[in-house]
Assembly symmetry: C2
Homo-oligomer: 487 residues x 2
């Protein structure tokens, strides 16, 4: 790397996203892959702060809708884990087991490091929930889970330890549980798109692609710049599949004991952060919505020798004033102003304030917005108003851009022969398909083998009724599905 | 339990703290001990919310003082763990080991579930830190750690999985590292006492009671209502003990490579929560500082049949207004107002608002403060001002009460024969002692065996110079130490 390359960042995100993503993770100090356990990465400040902020936003949204916050142990005894058959079959290959402590002493019972917490939580739920008065019972925890992934791991996207929220809700009736699934999808949109600017579509997943133990799975798909789909929050209608083995019964109004209905919901915050980086970044580096940025404002002194002190003083005065409400720093390093600009643009700082001799004299400030790359001069007394306005405008701007790109990526196609070209060029294909029930699986397998793409399911936000034949088998098409390459 | 006992809570906290603590954990839904893995407990909403709030306060304090936020993997490869001899000896008996995944496949290398993260973090630090320009390097993570405790576990106080912050800071010089130790102690006081109202004293621990691998350990002691001491945040000067095995070197200004100096600091948030409950609670139940309360305001409709709707509407209007800034609920259950009062007092809600017919007519509200048990009438328009004022006053009141009690618990004693009576009656004994270096250990062992109490070390906030003889061996006393029973 030349000196200049060390300072500037210039990778074509659209043409070579994989390179862009890997390079920005290192350069912006987001993740470090050099930790000496395979599949585990260190998340540095440029991940740890946005992930914390994203957690706070999501938690607030869940609490507003009546979810209690809980903290469960991260270990699950083997006997709990084995109770639901499909669940254990689905997760068993990925579980890390704790078998010893100290200097090789064996534990009485093997403990699973939770790959997800159904089997930890529902046992306690069955103790807590006694009657219809205790329902609905809605709760979440913010935690990490561990999975010994066999697929290739990628930082933030697929790691052997990742950070998520899991909400587990219990209802007296199937109807209420299904309403919760709707609410969960709504919450995902409110948070991912409205607050983070990441567009998504919710699909009802085909029966062969369900969460192990679920009756039905609904999952959000987002788009990466290389045209591949990344799954984001999913919500699962578990029916009574878990309440039976975990004996989660309640006394109903009619005096009868009944098994409860359960839903579970899992937004993976560290993975959503991957989407955030990928969705908003550009060839110069990171771009953040103002509220999520690890550093929100950078102040750059444009120093002229004999005015040095006055300029530094002004910078410090601004920092002091702004640091009550924002994450703000002054760059006092010995780099040139230009190099500082490049550096903090790469790091995605949403607002830059430049303070030089001219600004001092005019009681003005030069301000720069990372999302638009526009630089303007404002009066110093307008600064707070400018920041507040920018906060809103940046999010609006990022949402428009990302939504526009996302919408354009969907194409309707009628012939199987044309699907490959479309998905290879980064499109999500909308097409006619026989069924997302069991009988459609063989058609999905053909798509998977021939095109290396996947049937994501049927849209939840629209009723789409096909007229015509399944693109694969030629039988009557009962559904409109979406097909794409995936992470 | 009778119906009345279910509603009221009345356990003498001072006389029978152990019973009080156990009962309030269950009754207020703080912790559930019925999880089926020994030493692991479920933390319910009444723990999960205050713990989150306490984390936010502590993290803000650390970030203000220049700590970067990081997220490290929770697993540590065995080879890292074995590098520092004293450290591994100290922690090895307590480590949980992951040895398998899936259906009994062996991992290539055993992984420790971190009991603390020195050996995870310093390996990466040695990659990141290259020159004096990278120093000081100050970072923290908020995480959980696991220890297979052999001592009896108690929820929040000593569990096999607990929640803490660990800050690990690296410096070019010993002097700067020792300054960091001072800063860490200052931060603990700022947070634990100033924000949470928990009094503490920092002691330099005797050499025989150090963190494994440390040169010196400084730890805060707080007092429980039964007169036993509970250790809270500790900060450790590690010197170069870890930088050598982890090869944490930097190029200094003089062009020479040098080993760095490290400090580490560990406030255990879940344990601090135990102190919070124990310090402020009373015979009626929990008492919280306003900012940390899981529920800050409870609204109770005092319903008169024909005015029902108007009263409920007013309650909802108040909730809507207040819920922007506070955690607030209306109790719409079918209990009597009196039972509701008892219940929410037991749960420690700092402010209660009563809305009845009279209040409606007068545009007033009856408000109650949990810390003083005082009930007054205010005009509705004064509500926000009342809440803000109460927030400050409650904390001030709780601090005064707890500080007063703490100060009174310390007694100066000159005769070994009198120490037992004092510590048995819940006092912390201040006395003359030969030395907290290695040569004093045999005297400390005598105190431990005869009195079942422990030498906590020498005060950090005062220089105390003894004139006279060691209370145990009668040799010259070089230090003033404090002795107490401990958790």
């Amino acid at each position: 790397m030349t000196e200049k390359e060390k300072i500037t960042f210039n990778v074509d995100k659209e043409k070579n996203f994989s390179k862009w993503f890997t390079e920005i993770l290192g350069r912006a100090e987001i993740a470090d892959l050099r930790y000496n356990v395979k599949g585990f990465v260190v998340l540095r400040e440029w991940a740890a702060i946005p992930i914390k902020e994203m957690y706070l936003v999501y938690e607030r949204a869940l609490e507003k809708k009546g979810h209690k916050r809980l903290i469960f142990p991260s270990v699950i005894p083997e006997k709990n884990f084995l109770l639901e058959k499909e669940h254990v079959e689905g997760f068993a290959p990925d579980v890390f087991w704790i078998t010893e402590y100290g200097k090789g002493e064996k534990l009485e019972e093997k403990l699973a490091l939770r790959p997800t917490s159904e089997t930890a939580m529902y046992r306690m739920y069955s103790i807590w929930i006694r009657s219809y008065n205790d329902l609905p019972f809605k709760a979440y925890q913010s935690n990490q889970v561990w999975r010994h992934e066999t697929k290739a791991t990628r930082p933030l996207i697929r790691s052997r330890e990742f950070y998520w929220i899991e909400a587990h809700d219990v209802f007296a009736t199937e109807e209420e549980a299904l309403q919760q699934v709707e609410e969960d999808m709504e919450t995902a949109k409110e948070v991912l798109f409205e607050k983070f600017g990441i567009p998504l579509i919710f699909f009802k997943r085909p029966q062969w692609d369900k969460f192990p133990g679920a009756v039905d799975t609904y999952a959000a798909d987002c788009l990466m710049p290389d045209g591949k789909i990344i799954q984001q929050p999913s919500t699962h209608f578990l029916g009574q599949n878990f309440s039976k083995p975990f004996n989660l019964k309640f006394m109903d109004r009619d005096g009868k004991e009944k098994y409860a209905y359960i839903t579970c919901y899992g937004p993976a915050i560290s993975r959503i952060y991957a989407s955030l980086i990928a969705t908003h970044g550009d060839n110069k580096g990171l771009v953040f919505p103002f509220k999520l940025a690890p550093l929100q404002i950078i102040i750059i002194p444009i120093v002229v020798k004999d005015k040095e002190k006055k300029i530094f003083d002004k910078c410090r005065e601004l920092q002091k004033k702004l640091s009550k409400d924002f994450r703000v720093e002054i760059d006092l390093s010995e780099q040139s102003p230009g190099d500082k600009f490049y550096f903090w643009e790469m790091k995605g700082v949403p607002i830059r304030i430049e303070v030089g001799q001219k600004e001092l004299k005019e009681k003005s400030l030069t301000v720069f917005r990372r999302d638009t790359n526009k630089r303007i001069k404002i009066k110093e007394r307008q600064l707070l108003a400018f920041i507040k306005k920018s906060d809103k405008e940046i999010l609006k701007n990022l949402k428009e851009k990302s939504k526009n790109k996302f919408d354009k990526s969907i194409v309707s196609i009628d012939k199987l022969t044309e699907v490959k070209k479309a998905v290879d060029s980064g499109k999500i294909v909308r097409t006619k398909f026989c069924s997302i029930d069991k009988e459609g699986e063989s058609c999905a397998e053909i798509i998977e083998k021939q095109i290396n793409a996947f049937v994501r399911g049927t849209r939840v936000d629209k009723k789409e009724k096909p007229a015509g034949k399944c693109i694969v088998c030629g039988k009557k098409a009962n559904t409109v599905v979406y097909i794409g390459k995936t992470y």
